[in-house]
């Protein structure tokens, strides 16, 4: 009896060995897509590339468990600057303007997680590049590295030193997920990723990464690092790539696909999976909040003084609350909201306005910054020319003969107001501490130098089991 049993097992094994190949034991699912065995050809890898842009777009949702990405970026950038604040100083959103951010702030955690989601999707494409055809692989690599560099550039400026993940990691890879890299190492990856993107990409796209987008972003990285000549060379290359200033300032934001935009995160109206809600949040009680990213008195004062014809297109008095002022650069689907400013024909919470990341006016002003090269002023002809172009479009045609650092910072503020540039500009110009201290004193906020970095989200600290150290001041 025993003998028979053994024979039975042996026979069974023999049969299995003969009929068994990989497909049998690991069948590729037919009704669903999984990352295992996927990304095997150009077509499949391109869906991965589209997935990166989907991550950049963020999820349009009222749930902070969803990765909201750039849709909540104004909280962690513009509302920490002297440009905007909440309308009614309520909830965790108000922590940003008053510099009382806690490590548990859900928006801080969400932006961090969203950025790493983009990085994960970029790494997923990069890890599978070997399966792409040679010609397509170059472009996929350029796009993935552009998105990865963009995310890390935002992360390192907002959170300081953070874990540097340059390949797909698993849930058990705690060491990689929770070990802070030096900011030098992070910038090294950003620069090398963007150099690859510059080399691999062509121009002609707005909602996908292009050569000019990579050049402009790399120029901004070099300005941040103080490599002025490298920045200038890149910017001059963008300036020779056929972009131009849109003649009417308002059209930059409502005439999508205009020739001033170098890179924008694309949205379509009416579809939850492909739209954004920040346009609604900027209004009075139209979105989930009662109104955020409202314009500060300080920002209004400088726009009124130096904005020229940009001022009327940058902010307005809230028709429903006359003591308050709203951003008008991204009005939901271009509608003004009627007489009360909050009645929209389309669904404002499913807006389709693209989010502009890089535009030509930014490039021209960065060109001035590169030539100024950290100095107190410049009167170089090339700088004056770039500066004058931006001012002429704003209707400020009096000839400029010399530009001080403050002139440039102010010009950037009024040109790029409410486009999530101001906080980074203050950091890059080395005046963040003094500017925000003064703002804080004047408004009774509680700014201190450690508020220049966001906290590492408490959730990450907890998950890291002691590996990840909190930033000072939190």
């Amino acid at each position: 009896m025993k003998q028979y049993t053994y024979i039975g097992v042996a026979l069974f094994l023999a049969v299995v060995t003969l009929s068994c190949d990989e497909d049998f034991l690991q069948p590729v699912p037919e009704s669903a897509v999984s990352s295992v065995g996927y990304f095997s050809n150009d077509e499949e890898i391109e869906t991965g590339v589209i997935g990166i842009y989907d991550a950049l777009q963020g999820e349009n949702s009222t749930n902070l468990n969803d990765k909201r990405g750039v849709q909540i970026e104004f909280y962690v950038t513009e509302m920490r600057s002297d440009n905007t604040r909440t309308k009614s100083q309520e909830g965790e959103a108000a922590q940003f303007e008053s510099y009382t951010i806690t490590a548990n702030n859900g928006l801080v955690e969400n932006y961090y997680r969203s950025s790493y989601n983009t990085i994960y999707r970029a790494n997923l494409v990069l890890d599978n590049l070997a399966n792409a055809s040679e010609s397509a692989a170059e472009r996929f690599e350029g796009e993935a590295k552009f998105a990865r560099a963009y995310s890390y550039f935002n992360l390192v400026r907002l959170y300081g030193e953070i874990p540097l993940i340059d390949k797909v990691i698993g849930p058990l890879d705690k060491e990689a997920a929770f070990t802070k890299a030096s900011s030098a190492a992070i910038y090294e990856l950003i620069v090398s990723d963007l150099e690859t993107a510059v080399a691999n990409l062509e121009n002609g796209e707005i909602n996908r990464a292009s050569k000019a987008a990579a050049q402009a972003l790399l120029a901004k990285v070099h300005l941040t690092l103080g490599n002025y000549t490298q920045a200038q060379t890149l910017l001059e290359s963008v300036m020779n790539s056929g972009f131009s200033l849109e003649s009417n300032f308002n059209d930059i934001f409502y005439n999508e696909g205009n020739n001033e935009v170098i890179f924008a995160i694309g949205y379509n109206p009416g579809v939850e999976t492909d739209s954004q809600d920040f346009s609604a949040e900027f209004m009075n009680g139209v979105g989930r909040t009662s109104g955020v990213n409202y314009v500060t008195d300080e920002a209004r004062a400088i726009l009124d003084e130096k904005g020229g014809n940009r001022t009327q297109y940058s902010y307005r008095q809230d028709p429903s609350q006359l003591t308050q002022y709203q951003v008008t650069k991204y009005l939901p689907n271009g509608e003004d909201g009627g007489s009360d400013g909050k009645t929209f024909d389309s669904d404002a919470t499913l807006s389709g306005n693209d989010w502009i990341v890089l535009r030509y006016a930014d490039v021209l002003l960065m060109h001035v910054e590169a030539i100024m090269a950290g100095g107190p002023e410049t009167s170089a002809a090339a700088a004056l020319n770039s500066f004058q172009q931006v001012r002429n479009r704003a209707g400020l045609t009096d000839p400029v003969t010399s530009i001080t650092k403050q002139d440039l910072l102010d010009e950037r503020r009024v040109e790029l107001a409410f486009e999530n540039q101001r906080f980074f500009d203050l950091l890059r110009f080395g005046v963040a501490q003094e500017t925000l201290s003064a703002l804080s004193d004047a408004n009774g906020y509680s700014f201190s130098a450690t508020d220049l970095l966001l906290p590492i989200p408490q959730r990450e600290i907890n998950l890291s089991n002691g590996l990840l150290e909190q930033n000072p001041g939190y």
Binding site: A370, P376, A381, A383, E434, A449, T450, G473
Partner: protein
Amino acid sequence: MKSILNKLNLSAITPGLIIMVLLTACDFEYDLPEEGSFEDKTPPSANFTYSQGEGDNWMVYSFANQSTSATDFEWDFGDGNSSTELDAQNTYPGEGTYTVTLTASDKLGVTNVSSQVVEVVEPEVPLARIPVILEADFEDNSLPDGTGDGRDSWRNDFGGVIQITSSPVQSGAQAAKFPSAGDRVAYQDGLEVTPNTEYVLTYYYTLKTNNPGSITLTVLGGTITDLAEVAGATLASFEGTDQDSASTYVKVDLPFNSGANETISILITNQGEEARLDNITIDLGV
């Protein structure tokens, strides 16, 4: 009814009894002060960064407190000034070396000290660089180490090496000579400049008068590896065609802006007729 009252009475008395028992059981007197307390695993750690003010405010330093687990701070700026602010600012009396000390403490009285040496120096207004052109006058033994044949710095892979003439010259004893074949090229790179600065390059040339000809000097941004790159890298160029005299040198002032370059190079070529070139100098323009 009576039994309920009784019950109520009883239940009111019971807590009283329990409290009495607890009180008598409490032995405060012999409780050790350290009993049940934990070591402070996050003692204060002092740290700070600083930055110098700009322009006329160069003596004003801003200090950014980066301490952790601390509630009280004492700054000693090393010049006799001090502060107990969280972030601090200090105006130094002048240039010098100061040791800044930050003492961070918590409410348990634990302290931690961090010191950094601050060198207060008035920033110099950066002067524009004047590039040094080697063998600019094509003289023998004019390299910094006292060697050279007057053209060593001008050799390249773009064309044959230039010749040297001793007559006519514009200055010194020698000048560069480009035979009429036009196959000799002079090139020198790595000349350090300040970006976005106006310069004027001055030189002298003369052409023989037998055949129509010209000599061209081009200022290039950065370095080239192939003559095909010349058009894209040219900052300024001048084609000399003055053939009035074979022996009288003509002066050329060639202004250029260094643009986005930290170095420039100079390329000299000729065609059609024998040419001479001498005495290249470079200075700041207006």
